[in-house]
Amino acid sequence: MNLFSKKGTKILHIADMHQRHQGRLFYSSGKKINNGFIKNNFNVLQISDRDFLKSNVFNYKKNSFINYIHNTIKNFNPDIILFGHVDSLNEKDIYELKNDHKDVKFSQYFLDTLDPNFEQFSRHKDRFFLKYQICDTNFITTNPSSLDFIDKSKTFFIPNICDRSIDILENYKYENLEYDIFFALSHGQHGGILKKGYIDERVEFINQLKLNDLKKNFFGIDKNPVWGEQFFLELSKCKMGLNLNRGMPIKYYSSDRISSLIANGLLTFLQRGYSYEEFLEDRIDVIYFEDHLELTDYIKYCSKNYNERSKIACNGKETYFKNFENILVTKYMVEKILEHKLSHKLSWMN
């Protein structure tokens, strides 16, 4: 059989694969995206930029990193190069790569918020724009139509994805779990521990909740966040989860904690204003809240009503996988990048 008669799609995925974290972030979005490509039978090769550039004092490893990419492209001959948050390469580097490999489609995904009201907006925008001009397509976790500074013809929404091999918990099956409510925030997943003097607006909101008679499993407020298998262990002990974003609401944005909660079968509370109602129905798949008073009431009520809680959490998990599973999302990404007709049309796809 001629090996080249059947040509599959080859993807070079350049993103942080967290090898230096020794498994602590095995459930990262980059990992789930990578898994999605494999599950779709795409031929995917990874370069973990931040692992390669570890201890890169004065940026001395950059040239060898770029050579490494060039050699990998030469040997692998990809159809697509997909960048994650590869902040080490600037616009000029990306241009030179593209100039040397004009037939390869360049794309990036950017998972952080691009909300103009967010305090670190200009830093996020600058990071996103490093590759934006040259990339043929860009994927973001905010609805592009909500952003003035985005070219909608080449920028598309992707949700925070879930993965059947990672998001395996089914908390809705258990009536008596150790904790009522789970919430976790971190001051950056790379450091992993809380930073001194760092103030997060969400802590103020959490402190307003009157949940004295309930058991709370909160991380990132008084105790350090948990990672790796420990994160899933703590998650498995909880009936419900709280998804709380920083900043002002903006259409479709959420941090990736939304998938950890809903896709693992916890009844999840979502803030109103992000238009997730278009995908997840209120009181059918999740519960939406307006303020801390409403949220307090919902948490108290649902902690005592197993049947209702279980039904919503189960629906939520099912709906989340039906819409946002990595197999669907990564296939959509590849079809968009290669300008193919969409094989599967879901409401969030444009």
Binding site: E91, Y95, K98, N99, K102, F129, Y132, Q133, I134, D148, F149, I150, D151, K152, S153, K154
Partner: protein, 345 residues
């Protein structure tokens, strides 16, 4: 309250201005209260005044001696400095425009055409985008727009909305335009280009082939550029006596027209009502793109990337490699393509 103003530099050719229009129109849509002034080349200034989204045109005189030019530049700076601008956008990336903009008041940005100004634009804190040739330049315009917090929505750009058309011609039958300007002759254009060099007889044959390909269903209008072409003079010898540079003759009982010294306004008006355009790639294909007129444009083989840089956004344009007129006359693929495109339009 002071009037809100923005200043855009586009001091080069007509095609450069036309391809910039989606950027300017989108800017106006985003900031409808702003008064847009264009610093243009002297040659383009009258043409630009036809567009309603431009409020003011400042012509830049360049074809004068050095001392007068310097005097003129400083005079211009003094006048422009009297106003404060919301944005000063050096869209042509020219050194002269950058130099003038340095002295003006407002937020500044530049679409860089070369590496020459990268450092200076950094030092003077301009928002900057490099106009990379590896992708069509609308994408680079779009990136600059994004840096200025607006978007170019190409699907909703109506360049000729409220345009001041001066329609001189009113033909009853559908027609195809052959724009036979100096670009067909390498001696009058780029000397390293493939010479198409159509002789008078070959132009005749080309017209007949096009008529034949389209089953004599379309008339043919031949337009010319500003440069005098000897072959065209011979070609016109069997046309009827001209009226106002307007020649006609019958070929296969179909009217063939020739318009001598066609102005750009004439071309716009002609293209607007045409069914098809055959030309060498240039400013006219930007016009046909804006009217959604299917077009075949001849391009130079070793400049494909550069051509796509200019035309990559044009959905109705088909590029065909330049070849000698003799080869073009025998190129059946060309006529098949023409037939298919006309049938599909």
């Amino acid at each position: 309250m002071d009037e809100l103003r923005s200043l855009i530099f586009r001091t080069d050719r007509l095609g450069d201005f036309i391809i910039s229009c989606p950027f300017i129109i989108s800017y106006k849509k985003k900031f409808p209260e702003t008064n847009i002034s264009i610093v243009s080349s002297e040659y383009n200034s009258n043409y630009i005044k036809n567009f309603s989204f431009i409020d003011d045109v400042v012509p830049l005189k360049m074809k004068i001696n050095f001392l007068r030019k310097l005097y003129y530049l400083f005079q211009m700076i003094l006048i422009l400095r009297k106003k404060k601008y919301q944005n000063i956008i050096v869209l042509d990336g020219k050194k002269r425009s950058f130099f003038i903009s340095l002295f003006l008041k407002g937020d500044k940005s530049i679409l860089l055409q070369s590496k020459g100004l990268v450092l200076f634009s950094k030092i003077f804190n301009y928002k900057r985008v490099i106009n990379y040739e590896i992708q069509n330049q609308i994408k680079n315009f779009s990136y600059l727009a994004n840096l200025l917090n607006f978007n170019i929505d190409l699907d909703n750009i109506k360049l000729y909305k409220n345009y001041n058309f001066k329609r001189k011609f009113d033909f009853q039958k559908k027609y195809i335009i052959i724009h036979l300007d100096e670009k067909w002759y390498k001696d009058l254009y780029y000397s390293d280009f493939t010479d198409i060099n159509p002789t008078s007889e070959q132009i005749n044959s080309f017209v007949k082939k096009i008529l034949h390909t389209t089953d004599n269903n379309f008339e043919v209008v031949i337009t010319s550029g500003s440069k005098k072409i000897a072959h065209l003079e011979t070609f016109l010898s069997d046309f009827n006596k001209p009226v106002n540079n307007f020649y006609t003759k019958q070929v296969n009982n179909v009217c063939v027209r020739f318009i001598k010294n066609t102005t750009f306004n004439d071309l716009e008006s002609l293209v607007k009502y045409s069914s098809f355009l055959v030309c060498c790639e240039g400013g006219i294909s930007h016009v046909s793109n804006n009217f959604n007129i299917p077009t075949i444009a001849l391009y130079e083989k070793n400049r494909l990337l550069h051509t796509k840089f200019w035309t990559g956004h044009m959905t109705k344009l088909t590029l065909v490699e330049r070849k000698s007129m003799c080869d073009l006359l025998n190129d059946n693929q060309f006529y098949n393509l023409l037939k298919t495109k006309i049938n599909n339009s």
